[in-house]
Amino acid sequence: MLNVIGQVIRRDLLLAARQKADVLNTLFFFVVVVTIVPLGIGPEPNLLRAIAPGVVWVAALLAAILSLPRLFANDHADGTLEQMLLSAEPLPLIVLGKAAAHWLVTGLPLTLMSILFGVAFDIGRAETSVMVASLLLGTPVLSLIGAVGAALTLGLRGGGVLTSLLVLPLFIPVLIFGAGAVGASAAGVGYAAYLLLLGAFLLFALVLTPWLVGIALRISVE
């Protein structure tokens, strides 16, 4: 039964590999957003060092939101989604596979790219590793919660913007603790609590969101 997760991941990765543009666009968007902030604020190093974690995290959020419609739209268009709903395999597992594949092509490259931005903003090695850890724990949560938003707004007009509106309030706790972890590390205060809370969010999301996404998909596709 758990094989289905691997199957779905493999399929989604294959599809993503055939349309690399989608994947690279999201990563590129992330890079561009982070890059234009210093251009707008000015190159004062101390200021940039202070805002770096927040900027990287907000850009990660926006990039995640940007890539959400693609999560179910293609499958919905060609009928595969209906087959998934009718499948004998548990829908939450299929959803877990799709969210995992989504994270592998958006969240993970983003997290790795953030190492470069740790250097670009000159935040130091310790803070960079905390930032990478926070993104590593937080971006899967974004994929999972985002999947709920994508499922609820499947096929609706105004799609992408409406999804962002629904999903951003739910992302905010992840943002607060993710950026807060790096901020705490930079201030010399303990950051473990923040990372542990992010881990808790991840576990919570892993358990609850596949079920909720399943319900939302059945509502949207009926």
């Binding site: 709920v148 609820l152 707004t153 105004g158 409406l162 509106l165 509502i219």
Partner: protein, 253 residues
Amino acid sequence: MTTTTAPRFNLYWFASPQTFYALAGRLIPWFMALAVVLTLAGLYIAFLVAPTDATQGESYRIIFVHVPAAWMSMFLYVVMAFWAAVGLAFNTRLSSMLATAIAPTGALMTALALWSGSLWGRPTWGSYWVWDARLTSELILLFLYLGFIALQAAIDDRRRADKAGAVLAIIGVVNVPIIYFSVKWWNTLHQGASVSVKGSSMATTMLWGMLIMALAFWMYSIAAVLFRVRTIILERERRSDWVRELAAQEKLK
């Protein structure tokens, strides 16, 4: 079918849009009257009876609007999520209609709490807004209300809109305990809880004024929600016989 006779005891008698429409129509004047009376009493206490505050002077009197609005904003969200969940689980239309009716009043209360709190913050904290836990989570509550309204507005099929909104409302209900406990969990600028089931640290007249205003806001909310749900019922049931008859008799104003 034009008239219905009530059976001896049926728990679900008012679960039908038709019977609930009539019930709501009879209840609204009572709740509005209560709201008006309680508001007058509360404002009388607020401005003429309650003493000047030791630290804040007269500006503290915003509390008589700010706290009731904030309490209602959280309470209405939970009630909305409850009815939306009932509608999702039992597939009852009226429950979902009620949830849809509650959302705008809840959003109004949230906006009022944020606005009055902002005006209160200026003389006491020195700024209209701070990014502390309680204010931020109350702002998130406003976004959740608006998201619920936006999602239901974007879906044409009413039943799909009901269910999708229900999923969203249920997910968002996690935010309400966060708002409530935020002053305890984080070091915030916002005042901690001075009222609890065990007692309060406020002067008695201030407490009574606040509780009466809270009750007034509650009565108003009920009246407003009942009024709105009647409109929603008429819209959604417009093809049914009883609505057509009401329209024909020009009883709909």
